[in-house]
C-alpha cells in the first residue's frame, strides 16, 4: 500500500491551471524526488499536501484513508511536515523555543524533560542541534536542520523539502543528504523538490517528473539518466552542453578596488573587495546566497552607499555618482537585479511602461512618447518567445519566466558595455535558460564585459572565464574556470581562503 496517494488532483488559480489531473504516489521509507521546471506545478502540489492550498478536485489518501487537509495543522496531524525554502523560524528565540512555538502544552514548561526529549530526537535522526542556541547565531545549514527537527518533533513522518539545497554550500548539501538517508532508515518518507538533476540522481529512490501542471512519468532513479530526465521535463530532446566562447579578453573595463559597503545597521556587507573585469570576459560570482552578491551589484550600479574604495569604469570612478548620473553619463551598464519584481520592473504596469523605465529620461520634452517602446515590446516578445496576452497586459500576471524575459530583453536591448546580471535564469525553464546563456555568450563575443552572479556551480564552471567566490562579503578566491573544480569552489564558498589566490590583473 502506498503511504501517500494523490489522485486526479486539479488546482486552478484564476485562469491558470497549476495542477491538472495529477497522480502522485509515495511509498514507505523512500526518498521521492519531485522534478520539474519552474511553473511545472511542484510547489502547488506539495502545498496541497501540506494543507496550504485545497485542491479544486481530486482526492488525497494517506495510508489508504481519504483525508481533507484544510490547514497546515491538519496536515501535520496526518504526519506531513513541510520545510519551506524560506525558513519559518523566530530569530530571537532559541532552538527549543522555536520547536515549542504554537504547540499545545501545559501552562508551565517542563524544561528539563523537553531538553531531554529534543536531545533524544537529535540523536535518533543524527540532527546536530543545540537546544539552547539562538537562531540568529545559527548558520543556514543549522537553521535547516532545526526546521527538520521541529517538524519531526511535532510528529511528522512524511517530510517535504522545498528546494532545500538552494541556500547550501556543496558540503552542507552532503550533510543534508546524510540526514535524509537517516530519516529513510527510520521509516520516514521524504519528498524532495528540486530542479537540479545531479542531486536527484544522487539521493532519490524514485522520481516523479511534472511538466506544465501534469504528471509526465514516475521513474526509478537507478534506471534513468540526466538526459532522459531533462527530456521528460522539457518534453523534447535538449542539448545540455554550454558552449564556452573562446575569446581573448580586451582591456580592463571595470576595476573594483578595496570596496567596502555597510548596511543601515552598520554591518559590513562587503569587506574590501578588489577585482577587475575585461571587455569580452565573463566573470562568474559564486557564493552562498547572502554573501554580498546583491550589495556588490548594487554598489556598482550606484544603488548602495559605498563606505570606501573605488569602482573604476573605463577609467572613471563611479563612487559617489547617483544612479541617474551613471545612466545619463552614457555609462552603459545593464543590471539585472535578483529581485525581479521588487526592483527591476514595475509589477502593475504593462510591458511598454516597463521597457521605458530606463530610457524615458532620454526623450525630449515633458511628455513621454510610448510608440517606439510599443514596437520594441512586440520585437522582444518575438525574439525571446514571451507568452503574454498582449503588450498592455500587466506584467505581474505573467509567469516568472516570462517576467524575467521582459527584464532581460530590456537590458540586452540597451546595448551595454558592461552587463551585470544576477541569477538571470532563476525561474526559467531549461530551454530558455540555455537561450539566455547563448545571449550572454553573444554579448561576450561583441566585447561586452559580463559580471554573472550565479547559483548553479555547473553552469558557472561551463559558462564563465573566471569565477570569483564570495563568502561573508569577502573574496575567498578567484579561479580560472577551466581548471577549477566544484569541490574547490565549495571550500571557498564555505570560507576557506585559497592560499594561492590569483588576482589576475589583465592589463
Amino acid at each position: 500500500m502506498n503511504l501517500i496517494s494523490m489522485e486526479g488532483i486539479t488546482k486552478t488559480f484564476g485562469r491558470v491551471v497549476a495542477n491538472k489531473e495529477i497522480r502522485f504516489q509515495v511509498k514507505h521509507g523512500e526518498i521521492h524526488a519531485l522534478l520539474g521546471e519552474n511553473g511545472a506545478g511542484k510547489s502547488t502540489l506539495v502545498n496541497m499536501l501540506s494543507g496550504i492550498y485545497t485542491p479544486d478536485s481530486g482526492s488525497i489518501f494517506i495510508r489508504g484513508k481519504a483525508v481533507k487537509l484544510t490547514s497546515p495543522r491538519a496536515a501535520l496531524h496526518a504526519g506531513i511536515g513541510m520545510i519551506h525554502q524560506h525558513f519559518k523560524l523566530v530569530e530571537v528565540m532559541t532552538a527549543k523555543e522555536n520547536i515549542l512555538l504554537g504547540q499545545k502544552s501545559s501552562f508551565f514548561i517542563r524544561d528539563e524533560q523537553l531538553t531531554q526529549k529534543i536531545k533524544e530526537f537529535s540523536h535518533r535522526f543524527q540532527l546536530d542541534v543545540d537546544p539552547n542556541k539562538k537562531v540568529y547565531d545559527m548558520s543556514v545549514g543549522e537553521k535547516q536542520t532545526l526546521e527538520i527537527l521541529k517538524v519531526l518533533y511535532r510528529g511528522a513522518n512524511i517530510l517535504i523539502l522545498d528546494e532545500p539545497t538552494a541556500v547550501l554550500t556543496p558540503q552542507e548539501t552532503q550533510k543534508l543528504f546524510q540526514i535524509m538517508l537517516k530519516m529513510k532508515e527510520e521509516g520516514c518518507a521524504v519528498i524532495f523538490i528540486t530542479h537540479k538533476m545531479n542531486e536527484v540522481l544522487a539521493i532519490s529512490d524514485r522520481i516523479t517528473v511534472l511538466r506544465k501542471g501534469e504528471t509526465v512519468k514516475t521513474v526509478n532513479t537507478g534506471e534513468t539518466t540526466t538526459q532522459e530526465l531533462a527530456e521528460l521535463m522539457v518534453g523534447h530532446p535538449v542539448n545540455l552542453a554550454i558552449k564556452r566562447e573562446e575569446a581573448t579578453p580586451g582591456k580592463v573595463l571595470l576595476e573594483v578596488k578595496d570596496l567596502i559597503v555597510e548596511s543601515e545597521e552598520r554591518v559590513k556587507a562587503l569587506k574590501g573587495v578588489s577585482f577587475s573585469l575585461a571587455a569580452g570576459e565573463i566573470l562568474g560570482v559564486a557564493g552562498v546566497a547572502g554573501s554580498g552578491q546583491k550589495e556588490l551589484c548594487e554598489a556598482i550600479a550606484g544603488l548602495y552607499p559605498v563606505k570606501s574604495g573605488e569602482v573604476f569604469f573605463k577609467g572613471e570612478n563611479l563612487v559617489g555618482l547617483s544612479p541617474r548620473q551613471i545612466i545619463t553619463r552614457g555609462i552603459s551598464m545593464s543590471f539585472v537585479p535578483e529581485d525581479r519584481l521588487g526592483m527591476g520592473l514595475v509589477a502593475s504596469m504593462d510591458m511598454v511602461d516597463n521597457l521605458i523605465l530606463k530610457e524615458y529620461q532620454n526623450q525630449k520634452g515633458l511628455l513621454i512618447n510610448r510608440k517606439p517602446a510599443a514596437a520594441k515590446s512586440k520585437n522582444i516578445i518575438q525574439k525571446l518567445e514571451i507568452s503574454t496576452p498582449g503588450i498592455h497586459h500587466p506584467i505581474k500576471e505573467l509567469s516568472g519566466g516570462n517576467i524575467q524575459k521582459v527584464l532581460l530583453g530590456r537590458e540586452l536591448d540597451s546595448n551595454p558595455d558592461l552587463l551585470i546580471t544576477a541569477y538571470p535564469v532563476r525561474g526559467l525553464d531549461i530551454n530558455v535558460s540555455y537561450k539566455i546563456y547563448e545571449l550572454i555568450n553573444a554579448e561576450k563575443k561583441k566585447g561586452v564585459a559580463v559580471l554573472f552572479i550565479g547559483e548553479d556551480l555547473d553552469v558557472l564552471l561551463e559558462l564563465c572565464d573566471r569565477i570569483m567566490v564570495l563568502c561573508g562579503g569577502e573574496i575567498t578566491g578567484i579561479l580560472a574556470a577551466k581548471q577549477a573544480t566544484k569541490e574547490q569552489l565549495g571550500l571557498l564558498m564555505a570560507g576557506e581562503k585559497n592560499g594561492k589566490r590569483e588576482d589576475t590583473e589583465l592589463a
Binding site: P323, R324, Q325, D353, I368
Partner: protein, 360 residues
C-alpha cells in the same frame, strides 16, 4: 464551509452590474428605514432625485458642490498614485483659503482680475506648502504620512479658528466671531450663474489626466508609488519626485480653499473646507484614481449631498437620517468592491474534514 476565492479579471459589464446591484440593494435596505419613519420610500427617492436635478438652480448647486470635490480629488489622486496617503486635504484647503484671504483682506483695492489671479496663486502655494511639511518628513525620515497629514488638518483648523476668534475678528460684527467679508474684487465672477470654478475643474481634469498618464513626472510618480527600489534603480530622484508630487497635490487642494473662500463664503472661516478633504478621499478611490471617472463620481456625490439636504426639508426627515441614507449607499457600493475582487465558494463538507475538525 464558505471560502473566498480570488477572481480572475472580470469583464466590464459584469463589474458594472455588480456595482449597480449594490446601489439597488442599498436603496432597498434604506427603504426599510424610511418605511419605519412612516414615509413612502419611492416618494423619498423621487425627492432625492428632484432635489438634485429638479430645477436649473438645483443642477447649478450640484455642479458648484462637484467643482470643489473634483479639484480636491484630483489633488488627492496625484498623491495616491504615488501611494502617499494624503489625508490632509482638509488642512490644505484651509491653508489655501488662508493664503488667498491674506491678499483679499490686505490689498482689497487691487484691480479685480489681478487680485483674483494673485489669490489663486497664493491659495495654491499655501496648500502646497502645507502639504510639503509631511512630504519633507516622509522623504527625509520616512515618517508615516497618513498620521502627519491628518494631524496637520487639526493644526490648520485651529489656526483659522484662532484668526476668526482673535486677531482677524470683524470689529463691526457686534462681537460675532467672523472675519470681514472680501470686497467684490476678491470674489470669483460667475459664468452661467455658477462661479467660474467649474471651468477650472473641467480644464484641470484634462490637465491632470495628461500629467498622470503621459508626462515624465507622472510616470515617475507611478513607478515610485509601486516600488521605491525600482525608482532608485531607474535613476529617479526619489526625494524630488515626492516633493513635486505632494506640492501639486496640496496646491490643488489649496485652490479648492481659495474657491471656497472667495466664491462661496466670501471670507475665511472654519467652515470653508466643509469636509471636502475627507469626501474627496472616497471619490478618488471610487474613481479608481482616473481623473475622468473621479469627476463622474464627484458629480454623483454632489447630487447625493444636494438631494439629501432637499429631502430633509421636503419630508421633515432629520439631518441624521438623510446622512444615514447617504452612508448606506456608500457602504454598499464600497462593499461591492469586495465581490468584484473575490467570489464566495461553498464547499460541501466531507467526512474526513468534519472528523479532523473534531480532532483539533
Amino acid at each position: 464551509m464558505l471560502r473566498m476565492v480570488k477572481r480572475a479579471q472580470m469583464s466590464k459589464t459584469k463589474s458594472t452590474g455588480i456595482r449597480l446591484l449594490a446601489v439597488f440593494l442599498a436603496l432597498a435596505t434604506a427603504a426599510i428605514l424610511i418605511m419605519a419613519m412612516n414615509l413612502n420610500p419611492l416618494e423619498v427617492y423621487g425627492g432625492l432625485f428632484k432635489g438634485a436635478f429638479g430645477s436649473a438652480y438645483r443642477v447649478r448647486e450640484v455642479i458648484i458642490k462637484a467643482t470643489s470635490l473634483i479639484i480636491t480629488s484630483l489633488g488627492i489622486a496625484i498623491a495616491f498614485k504615488m501611494q502617499f496617503w494624503n489625508i490632509g486635504g482638509e488642512g490644505q484647503i484651509l491653508m489655501g483659503a488662508f493664503a488667498a484671504s491674506c491678499l483679499a483682506l490686505n490689498i482689497p483695492d487691487l484691480s479685480r482680475p489681478l487680485l483674483l489671479v494673485l489669490m489663486i496663486i497664493a491659495g495654491m502655494i499655501g496648500g502646497g506648502l502645507w502639504a510639503l511639511i509631511p512630504a519633507f518628513f516622509r522623504a527625509q525620515w520616512k515618517t508615516n504620512e497618513t498620521i502627519v497629514t491628518l494631524m496637520m488638518n487639526y493644526i490648520a483648523l485651529k489656526w483659522v479658528m484662532y484668526l476668526q476668534y482673535g486677531p482677524w475678528k470683524d470689529p463691526l460684527a457686534l462681537g460675532f466671531p467672523k472675519i470681514p467679508n472680501f470686497t467684490l474684487n476678491g470674489i470669483l465672477p460667475k459664468v452661467l450663474g455658477m462661479h467660474i470654478g467649474w471651468i477650472f475643474a473641467i480644464i484641470l481634469v484634462f490637465l491632470v489626466a495628461i500629467f498622470l498618464n503621459h508626462s515624465k513626472k507622472g510616470y515617475e510618480i507611478a513607478v515610485l508609488g509601486e516600488s521605491e527600489n525600482t525608482a532608485l534603480y531607474a535613476g529617479i530622484n526619489v526625494k524630488r519626485t515626492i516633493i513635486t508630487a505632494i506640492f501639486l497635490s496640496g496646491a490643488l487642494c489649496g485652490l479648492t480653499g481659495m474657491i471656497q473662500a472667495s466664491a462661496l463664503n466670501n471670507t475665511l472661516s472654519i467652515e470653508v473646507s466643509e469636509g471636502i478633504g475627507y469626501t474627496a478621499i472616497i471619490t478618488t478611490w471610487l474613481g479608481g484614481l482616473k481623473p475622468v471617472f473621479i469627476s463622474l463620481v464627484s458629480v454623483l456625490f454632489a447630487a447625493l449631498l444636494q438631494g439629501g439636504s432637499f429631502i430633509q426639508i421636503a419630508f421633515g426627515i432629520p439631518q441624521a437620517a438623510a446622512q444615514l441614507l447617504q452612508g448606506m449607499i456608500l457602504f454598499f457600493v464600497l462593499g461591492s468592491e469586495f465581490f468584484i475582487r473575490y467570489k464566495l465558494v461553498v464547499d460541501r463538507p466531507s467526512l474526513g474534514e468534519a472528523k479532523e475538525e473534531l480532532e483539533e
